[in-house]
Structures are given as C-alpha cells and as structure tokens.
Symmetry: C2
Subunit: 159 residues, 2 copies
C-alpha cells in the first residue's frame, strides 16, 4: 500500500530524530549534558580541517557569524581552544581539546551502538538496504544540520 509522500518525509524525520534524541540522552548520561549532536558534528568538522570560523561556516553551510557562535559555545564548554594563528594574524586557530576528542569518540560509539540496535530489530540487511537507497537518492548532497532547536527538547523524561 503506497502511502503518501508526506508520510515518507515524516518517517525520515522520525528516524533521524529518534537517533539524535537518543544520542543526546546517552551523551548526557555520560557527562556531556550540555551537548547536542550539532556540536558533535561541528567538532568533527573542526577536527577534519575546518580549524577557523570562516572555514567552519563554509563546511556547515552557515554564516561565519553563526559558526563563531558555535565555536564560542564549544570553547566555553571546554571542547575546543582558540589561539592566534602564528602565520596569519587575522585568524584564530581552533584546536580540539582532549575532552573534545573523548566526547567525539563517545558520540561516535553511541551512534554506532544505536545503529546496531536497529540492526537487531530489523536485520542488518534491512539497515544496509536503507542506507544504500538513501545514499543513492541523495547523491553527493551535503546535508546541513543547522539550527535544530528541537534537538534540545526535553525528550520526555520518564518522571
């Protein structure tokens, strides 16, 4: 029964939110309470070369001002440090701290874990198939994951 296209969109969003929300909860449980997936991804971008605000902005498809704000948050939380670039005095070089590295590792582990849970639910083949289809559909589209204010939601504490 071919459902509507809107349903399909909702399912995709639901899938992402489920993963992201659970990851947020897990991260919080491990002591990274003030962090959401966006920060995780930003950190990853920084680690892989986007070591200044302008470049980070380009990578994440947001303005450099927004990128600077994100960096400020990461810095205040102790995940990165900023220091003047010795060769270009306009730049502030961004470096991921030890805490940042650790958080990144934990984050990746959590996501991998979630993926595995899904595999036990529907079989590894189904998850792979899902990924393959999506990859094929999206091609090389870069996904910007900006301003998901909703990632910060309560997540329904089991009060």
């Amino acid at each position: 029964m071919s459902r509507s296209g809107a349903d399909l969109a909702l399912l995709l969003l639901g899938g992402f939110r489920t993963l992201a929300d659970r990851a947020t909860v897990e991260l919080a449980a491990r002591g990274y309470e003030d962090i959401r997936p966006v920060h995780d991804f930003a950190l990853q971008a920084i680690l892989t070369g986007a070591d200044n605000a302008s470049e980070l902005g380009r990578r994440m498809s947001v303005t450099k001002q927004s990128a600077a704000k994100t960096i400020a948050v990461l810095e205040s939380r102790g995940y990165v440090e900023r220091r003047p670039d010795p060769t270009d005095r306009r730049r502030m070089h961004i470096e991921v701290t030890d805490r940042g590295h650790t958080m990144l590792r934990e984050g990746a582990a959590i996501f991998d874990d979630l993926r595995q849970q899904w595999e036990t639910q529907v079989g590894a083949g189904a998850v792979e198939q899902l990924e393959r289809t999506l990859r094929q559909l999206l091609g090389d589209t870069t996904t910007r994951l900006d301003t998901p204010g909703w990632l910060v939601q309560d997540l329904g504490g089991e009060s």
Copy 2:
C-alpha cells in the same frame, strides 16, 4: 561496508530535508510563498480535529502558546479563520479556509510527486522497502516536527 551510525543519522536527515526543501520550493512556485511544511502539517492537524490552540498544541507536542503563534501565522496568511465557539465561550474555534484546503491538496500532491520521483530513481520496491523498515523501526512513535527553522532556508536560489 557498514558505515558509521552517525552517517546513517545524517542520511535520514538529508532525506527529509531534501523532500521538505523541494516541497517548500514547489509550494512557493505555486503561490504559497510564505509557507513551510510545518504549516502544512499543522493545517492537517487542525483539519483532523485539533480545532483549537490547546488541542493543536497537544497534537504537535508543543505548548499552547507556540500553537497559538502558529495559528496566528496561518490566520494572517489566510489559511484559517478563528471564530468564537458558540458553545464554549473560552474557545476560539479554528476553521480551515478554502485557501487552506487548496494549499493542503497542493502540498499533498507535491509530496506524492516527490515520492514518485524517488521511485523512478531507485525503483518503487526500494522506496517501499525503505518505508517498511522505517515504519518497523519507529513503531507508533509520533514525530513532532516543531521549530524546523532550517526549513525556511534559502535553498540555494539558482541565481
């Protein structure tokens, strides 16, 4: 090659964004320039019984204040009308206007169209499989699609 769980999350988000962004563009092209999928979904909720702010809030898992804001937007754009409920003078009854109905139909058509495009890209079977898997994984989780500020993005006008 089993990629990381984070990739999977990004793919899901990317899939949703692709659909949502394209739908926004299409809607705009058809004269609904000030509308994003959230409004579409809110309208749908209103149509199916959430005919007052408090109820709409419950349906969309947001506060009644937020729901009221959304309604105010929809009203100012002419998609709904508010009129006092004759039987309960606390309530403002919300009604979808003709324009609202039309927009809803167009929106659904657009999403269906996008889905069909995907089917021609990867085959109807793959899309169905993807849906089946996601449905299985998500179960009866209700997806809240609040505050996607990012749905409003430029979408890279082809200047």
